[in-house]
């Protein structure tokens, strides 16, 4: 009798979800997800994916750094070359003096 009552109760518990309806997602939640996933997306984004924008930014940065480096060290290098030429000329002058 006790066993029957226990089994009967277990059966009732196991059947307690039968015919349960669906939980409904609040409209605000759906709106939020819509805004979140589509934030900033659109035709422009689909034409130019974010990784392309990032790649372009990196290339521009590297090109800028290169230009700066060239402007700074390029000038110094010219001066160094000029002084080297002057030194070489001095040597030749020395040799010329002694008619060697």
């Amino acid at each position: 009798m006790v066993m029957n009552a226990k089994e009967e109760w277990i059966d009732r518990v196991m059947a307690s979800l039968d015919g349960a309806g669906k939980a409904e997602w609040e409209k605000a939640g759906k709106e939020m997800v819509l805004d979140r996933i589509l934030q900033g997306s659109g035709a422009a984004k689909s034409l130019l994916p974010s990784y392309l924008v990032k790649a372009a930014a990196v290339i521009l940065l590297l090109a800028g750094l290169n230009a700066l480096t060239m402007a700074f060290y390029g000038k110094n290098q010219t001066e160094a070359q000029e002084s080297s030429v002057a030194t070489d000329n001095d040597s030749f002058t020395y040799l010329n003096t002694y008619n060697l």
Binding site: K6, W9, L17, A20, A23, W25, G29, V33
Partner: protein
């Protein structure tokens, strides 16, 4: 609009298409997550994650299954991930408490979960069942909940969980046996 055309609209990132998708499947996915996770906030978060994933990955969707099956699979995977993380954290919390430290994780699911779809007369009994379901291993819990609460067939569950139908049958058999065992113990301790 055929499903293929609809998917193309989704791939283009059209707001109207996503709005329609949420209208069609939003409640189904949220309800499945709510049943699996037994927490409305978690269900809300995971549902949002699911649709964000759809947005990110729809470009790779080949159409081998229906759109609904594919999205449900994402929902089940994400819910399972969360359940397993929680169960792992709970186990870790128990180990910590064994060493006399404070249980850092605490009780993961305080109180009793009430599924909004359950009728008023079944609320009390379903709360006991939900608490027993929480004791099941994650995959048994998933199979049982999808079948009982979402009314999915074994075939649909197999697709959603990416396992064979015979695995689902086995999971369901073990879940039911374990639940009857847990409920029997609960009856002995609280009802009798």
């Amino acid at each position: 609009l055929t499903e293929r055309d609809f998917i193309e609209e989704l791939k283009k990132g059209r707001r109207e298409a996503y709005s329609r998708l949420l209208e069609l499947l939003g409640d189904k996915i949220y309800s499945a997550c709510a049943g699996l996770l037994q927490d409305r906030e978690d269900a809300e978060d995971v549902s949002q994650e699911v649709f964000a994933e759809v947005f990110r990955s729809v470009g790779n969707f080949r159409g081998d299954s229906s759109l609904e099956t594919w999205i449900r699979r994402i929902a089940v995977t994400k819910s399972l991930e969360l359940i397993r993380n929680r169960q792992r954290a709970k186990r870790f919390g128990k180990i910590i408490s064994l060493f006399g430290k404070e249980d850092l994780v605490g009780n993961m699911n305080p109180g009793t979960f009430q599924h909004p779809g359950v009728s008023l007369e079944n609320r009390e009994l379903s709360a006991v069942l939900f608490s027993a379901i929480r004791q099941l291993p994650a995959n048994q819990r998933t199979a049982f909940t999808l079948h009982k609460l979402e009314g999915l067939s074994y075939n649909e569950i197999a697709e959603a969980m990416q396992v064979s139908v015979s695995s689902v049958e086995s999971l369901m058999f073990r879940a039911k046996s374990r639940l009857r065992q847990l409920l029997g113990r609960y009856y002995e301790e609280n009802i009798r």
